[in-house]
């Protein structure tokens, strides 16, 4: 602590004193709570089908309407999906799991309680990437509440409409330990979780449609401290962009509070990305009406549901349903195929690209393309030509044809530029043999140095000014010269070779 601030100013909490010292000594501590709608056919505790845009209140029954005398029965597949999530996150699967009632009154909850889990969740502990998992439990989703504003057609301003189609949809709630340290890290990690869940096939994981929802617990503490500061819970961040912006805005809000010597109040906050904050930043953060404290939920074991016994058969079924997960796939690409970390991650997280990459790699093209070159062509040139998110397997470009093309380029029998022209042709028309396209279009690399050398000499003569500047050391001036050679050769020349010849002929 520096002398300047230690004695001066109002006495404040340790955190703010430390912060005002260095200006940036506060460290954000972030944990996430993710709700995932499970892709079952029916609801968590009744046989009503899940709703995808059906007319309101057409997927209800006495159980999900909370009518007296109705009894819930847990959905076997929801439990199965929960176990798969637990296995994917390295959690401990509980031998026995208990449902609890979480009691509170809100119109989207017809029973006056949500069936959730409390002290015996389905899965405990675990880890995904650098983030530890606290727990995974099952619960039921609430109904959808539509607030009718003053302009609404119903009774003026004080009425809401309830649609119970969503009520009772199975949810897995995944709670992390507070291991994240920045908004960017939080959204990056959430992408990894989403890719993992998508690969498992347990959810649509669509944030815009609400099948993946994320709340963040955020606090600040002096960097290096082991203690946690007072946290707030930030809700309503329904896209990766909003998650970053929301967390960033809340960190700034807390930083201002602490640096001005005040104390952060533990509360639930709502992030509204459509407004601007008081400080002028994007997205206002407002306090939700104070909800019950945890003990006010009066959790108690759901008397209408028996404990779920997770036996070996259920664990085995969950294990058998698991495919290779993105993190494992990325690791395999790095270890076995020596791909760069970025390429491995990209192909692993976009499984359609990864599948296509593996098909191309297994095609045994001759000459054989290096795995990294293949990865670059698929994630770069091919993905760009197909457009956002399109599966290359559904395109006209057959994986063996792409492998053959990349092999030709890698062997320098076709220049990169000419290879792109061949790829254009494959994207437009398909075809099995890139070598035939190369032949038919006269795109083969210029073989002899003499032939290319003459073209380079002509280009230098035609661009004498540029040549002079290159000779004087301005490497950027080489552009027009290389461009002229490429035009003359219709892109068949190898760019590196052209540059080498330009330098050679200029004597540098």
């Amino acid at each position: 602590m520096s002398e300047g601030t230690a004695g001066a100013g109002p006495v404040s909490a340790d955190a703010s004193a430390a912060a005002s010292d260095s200006g940036a000594a506060l460290e954000p501590v972030i944990g996430l709570e993710i709700h995932v709608q499970l892709a079952t056919a029916t609801k968590m505790f009744c046989g009503c089908e899940l709703s995808f845009g059906q007319p309101p209140n057409t997927r209800t029954c006495p159980v999900c309407l909370g009518l007296p005398g109705s009894l819930p029965v847990a959905n076997e597949r929801a439990v199965h999906f929960g176990l798969m999530i637990g296995l994917a996150l390295g959690s401990q699967l509980a031998p026995r799991s208990i449902f609890h009632r979480k009691n509170y009154f809100y119109p989207d909850l017809p029973k006056g309680y949500q069936i959730s889990q409390y002290d015996e969740p389905l899965c405990l502990g675990g880890r995904l990437g650098e983030v530890r998992i606290h727990r995974v439990h099952l619960e039921e989703d609430a109904a959808k509440l539509i607030h009718v504003g003053e302009s609404g057609r119903i009774h003026g301003s004080d009425t809401s409409v309830v649609d119970f189609n969503r009520g009772g949809t199975p949810l897995a709630e995944i709670v992390t330990e507070p291991d994240l340290r920045s908004p960017e890290q939080a959204s990056e990690w959430l992408r990894l979780l989403r890719a993992t869940l998508r690969q498992l096939g347990v959810s649509d994981v669509n944030m815009e449609e609400g099948s993946l929802r994320c709340d963040a617990n955020i606090s600040l503490r002096p960097a290096g401290s082991e203690e946690l500061g007072v946290k707030t819970e930030l809700k309503n961040m329904n896209s990766f962009r909003f998650i970053e912006r929301g967390i960033r805005a809340e960190i700034e809000r807390q930083r201002e509070i602490i640096e001005s010597g005040d104390t952060v109040v533990q509360e639930t906050l709502h992030f509204d990305p459509t407004t601007r904050s008081a400080g002028g930043g994007a997205g206002a953060i407002t306090s939700l009406r104070s909800k019950e404290q945890a003990h006010d939920y009066r959790y108690f074991p759901e008397p209408d549901l028996l404990p779920v016994a997770i036996d070996e058969a259920m664990r085995q079924a969950a294990r058998e349903a698991m495919s290779e997960l993105p993190a494992q796939r990325a690791e395999r690409y790095r270890r076995e195929l020596k791909l760069s970390a970025d390429s491995a991650q990209l192909l692993a997280f976009r499984s359609e690209l990864g599948d296509y990459f593996e098909a191309a790699h297994a095609a045994h093209a001759d000459p054989s393309p290096p795995a990294q070159a293949l990865a670059n062509w698929i994630s770069g040139d091919l993905a760009a030509r197909l457009g956002d998110g399109e599966d290359p397997a559904a395109s006209r470009v057959q994986a063996p044809a792409l492998a053959a093309l990349v092999g030709l380029v890698a062997a320098k029998r076709v220049s990169v530029g000419a290879g792109r022209q061949v790829l254009d042709k494959l994207v437009a028309e398909g075809g099995e043999d890139p070598a035939a396209i190369v032949e038919a279009q006269g795109l083969a690399s210029l073989g002899g140095e003499d032939e290319l050398g003459a073209i380079v000499a002509a280009a230098l003569a035609a661009n004498a000014d540029a040549a002079e500047r290159v000779r004087a050391g301005n490497e950027k001036a080489i552009g027009p010269i290389v461009g002229a050679v490429m035009r003359e050769t219709k892109g068949r020349a190898d760019g590196t070779e052209v540059t080498r010849l330009v330098h050679e002929q200029l004597g540098i």
């Binding site: 079952t40 056919a41 046989g47 209140n57 209800t60 597949r77 119109p107």
Partner: protein, 94 residues
Amino acid sequence: MIERDEVLHVARLARLALSDEEIEPMARELSAVLDHVAKIGELSLDDVAPTLHVVEVTGALRPDEPRPSLPREVAFEQAPEVGDEGFLVPSPQA
């Protein structure tokens, strides 16, 4: 004896309106219930698992197979107030 504030807090959680005359008797009755249950604490129960259910049955799960939902007009019959497509409730935001 539990405090008056605690009675009011629990009443609020349960959405019960208590008149002034009801608060003191309620505190007395709730305290009696709690005292009764607290009796159990005098026993040595370290090795006894909580009895969640009187029968030790597990594994009653339901196959993920759809069953017919209620026709909307039937569902609406139970509601005090409905609109064209939904149940109407006092707005919690009002």
